[in-house]
Amino acid sequence: MTLPPFAYHALVGFVVLNVVIGMVTYVTLLERKFAARMQSRIGPYYVGPHGLLQPIADAIKLMLKEDIVPNTADRWVYNLAPIVFLVPCVLIFATLPFAPGLGVADLNIGVLFFLAVSSLEIVGLFMGGWGSNNKYALLSAMRAVNQIISYDLPFVFAAFVPVLLAGSLQMSAIVAAQQGTWLVVVPKWFLFYPVIGQLAFVAFLVATLAAENRVPFDILEAESELVAGFRVEYSGMKFALIQLGEYAHMIGTSFLGALLFLGGWLGPGSELPLVGALWFLVKAMLVFLVVTWVRWSFVRIRVDQILAISWKLLLPASIVLLLATAFWVAARGGHGL
């Protein structure tokens, strides 16, 4: 029996959505365990064997919390903000193929869709900061807008380097372009593409940190000065939705990084979709752990310094890199590889 296309996509979308949410809960555990090791502690341990049920306990706890709406909040904006924030963060998984043919939709402009949708989260974020009617939240929302505007451009430029090399915006085509090896042993991932690949990956990682609002660019959370930033007034499930969105965004970006630079699902045995998906997951988690590693070793930098890094260094550098890649591809007659 074959399903009609609409039903098939809806079914896959449902599965992906649930897998993403499940993954988010367990990625928090991974991060906490990883951070604990870095700080010479054990981390969550008591709920379930080795703390494996901790995320479930956290989810239940958040659901049972009282939902507080501040008296002076703009109720509509305040209540809508978590949803507006969460939707784009989850929607980015729509175009991600997890293995050949295993994904909701493999659009021919997949990368563009991903980048465009992921920057929409700022709307929900600003709504939250504005609607809370709290000074900390407002300051944080202002910072967020500053930061997203500054870092989306280098993020897009860095992500477009592999696109240029592969000659396609379609995610599966980008992975296909990374098939094969150089000098027998080095896989043809764009990370190993001489010079351009490494520079683009570094630019991508830095911009990713900023786009995900992670340390050292977490000025909008900034709990030592702004307490919790734009989500200071949120509690219970609304807070959980914001957390969920943030981590979904983080995982989505890690998958994008793994796809653009680390060859996506390519690896031994990747002809089988499940093995390919497993490879993809491992690579994405590697990217995620690098981000986590940075998070737990750096201090936060100031808002003016963050803007300076973006406009004075990262943006010009990524433009030059993109131009150089374009010339290189053009000089080789339209073939990056």
Binding site: Q39, K135, D218, S224, E225, R302, D304
Partner: protein, 387 residues
């Protein structure tokens, strides 16, 4: 509640027209206790600051008049609960000064030992919380914080086996100390000092090779040496502003003149200079503690018999001011005695209180994020500010 009466705020004009008044504290993640700063902001820039203290006022000076000379030392440790040993030392020094009570050399050396260990413990807590101010509990700052707490625990373990307490000790008494070193304490202390000395190097490597740490601290919150002296700051803040003043050298007490150590001084006056001074002080304190362990003289630990009743110590009529170099600066105690078993009047000079007074002079003009970095570098303990 909005303020009904206009408060005097120190403000600079910034050219903007829309101002935002933001309350930082008294309940705030980086208030270091209960400090309330009413910030006037233009965008992200602080243009005015009004510092409000007094949320932790516990009538310490009045309490000092109602408790006897024997009872109060263990309460004195509650003024600066992060460096309790030096607070006790200031009080008993004042009692000994006014009462002309001798202190045996061994007791003096023991006091130096615990004071330096306390300085290490206090600076460790400062380093951890300060990094947390800049990195947050969900960031790299928390990593440094947990490392520092781990080392502080080792020092507190030493204090625990020495006095039975981990935070507020009651180690000092007029005329000497209450406890002598237990068996095998000295080797354990040496071991701890060795570990801490090694770990200090690790923190320096982690922080000073980190470009983000440098941009957050260098050139931030500059206190000129003129301002420092005018306001009356002391301790690492003063030495970070290029003034070579340390009571252990300037007015030696408790036989500090017998030890060899360096007074670290930095001239930049910014957060990084204060950080550097404290990091150097770690090493100097370790050096002094080792010298004490090396040459601890034999003899009694107190010139007075053990305490049997609370009114046992009586101080003749007179008054005097004793001061010691605490972890945060000059901790002083002014005592007026009327011949009884209790002081007639007691006045504390808290180092944090005077150091905090510099904030309204240096905060206007900085960004909000720097407020917490600067406040952390001042290292206030509110038990000592509000008393």
């Amino acid at each position: 509640m909005p303020e009904t009466t206009p408060r005097s705020t120190l403000e600079i004009g910034y050219g903007g027209s829309e101002r935002l008044t933001m309350n930082m504290g008294p309940q705030h993640p980086s208030a270091h206790g209960v400090f309330r700063a009413i910030l006037t902001l233009e965008g992200e820039t602080v243009v005015g600051v009004d510092a409000v203290i007094g949320y932790l006022h516990r009538c310490h000076e009045k309490l000092g008049e109602t408790l006897t000379y024997v009872q109060y030392p263990s309460i004195a440790s509650k003024t600066d609960y992060v460096a309790a040993m030096t607070a006790e030392l200031a009080y008993v020094s004042a009692v000994e000064l006014v009462g002309k009570i001798d202190v045996p050399t061994r007791a003096q050396w023991l006091r130096v030992l615990v004071a330096e260990l306390q300085r290490i413990a206090s600076h460790l807590l400062w380093l951890g919380t300060w990094c947390m101010d800049m990195g947050g509990a969900l960031g790299g700052g928390a990593t440094v914080f947990l490392y520092c707490i781990r080392e502080r625990e080792a020092v507190l373990d030493l204090f625990e086996s020495l006095t039975g307490a981990r935070l507020l000790y009651g180690f000092h008494q007029p005329g000497g100390t209450r406890y002598d070193l237990p068996e095998d304490w000295a080797p354990r202390c040496r071991e701890t000092l060795k570990v801490i000395e090694q770990r200090i190097g690790e923190y320096e490597a982690m922080l000073e090779d980190n470009a983000f740490f440098l941009v957050r601290t260098q050139g931030v919150g500059v206190i000129s040496s003129e301002l420092a002296q005018e306001v009356g700051v002391s301790g690492p803040l003063l030495r970070g502003s290029g003034v070579n003043h340390d009571l252990r050298r300037a007015a030696p007490y408790s036989s500090y003149e017998a030890f060899e150590f360096r007074i670290p001084v930095e001239t930049a006056g910014d957060c990084y200079a204060r950080y550097h001074v404290r990091m150097a002080e770690f090493r100097e304190s370790i050096k002094i503690a080792r010298q004490v362990l090396e040459g601890l003289p034999e003899g009694p630990i107190s010139s007075r018999p053990g305490v049997k009743s609370v009114g046992q110590v009586r101080v003749p009529k007179g008054e005097g001011y004793a001061r010691v170099e605490g972890a945060r600066g000059e901790v002083g105690c002014y005592l007026v005695a009327d011949g009884g078993a209790k002081p007639y009047r007691l006045k504390w000079r808290g180092a944090s209180f005077s150091n905090l007074a510099v904030l309204p002079h240096i905060l206007p003009g900085v960004k909000v994020a720097d407020v917490v970095a600067i406040m952390g570098s001042v290292d206030p303990v509110f038990g000592e500010v509000d008393r």
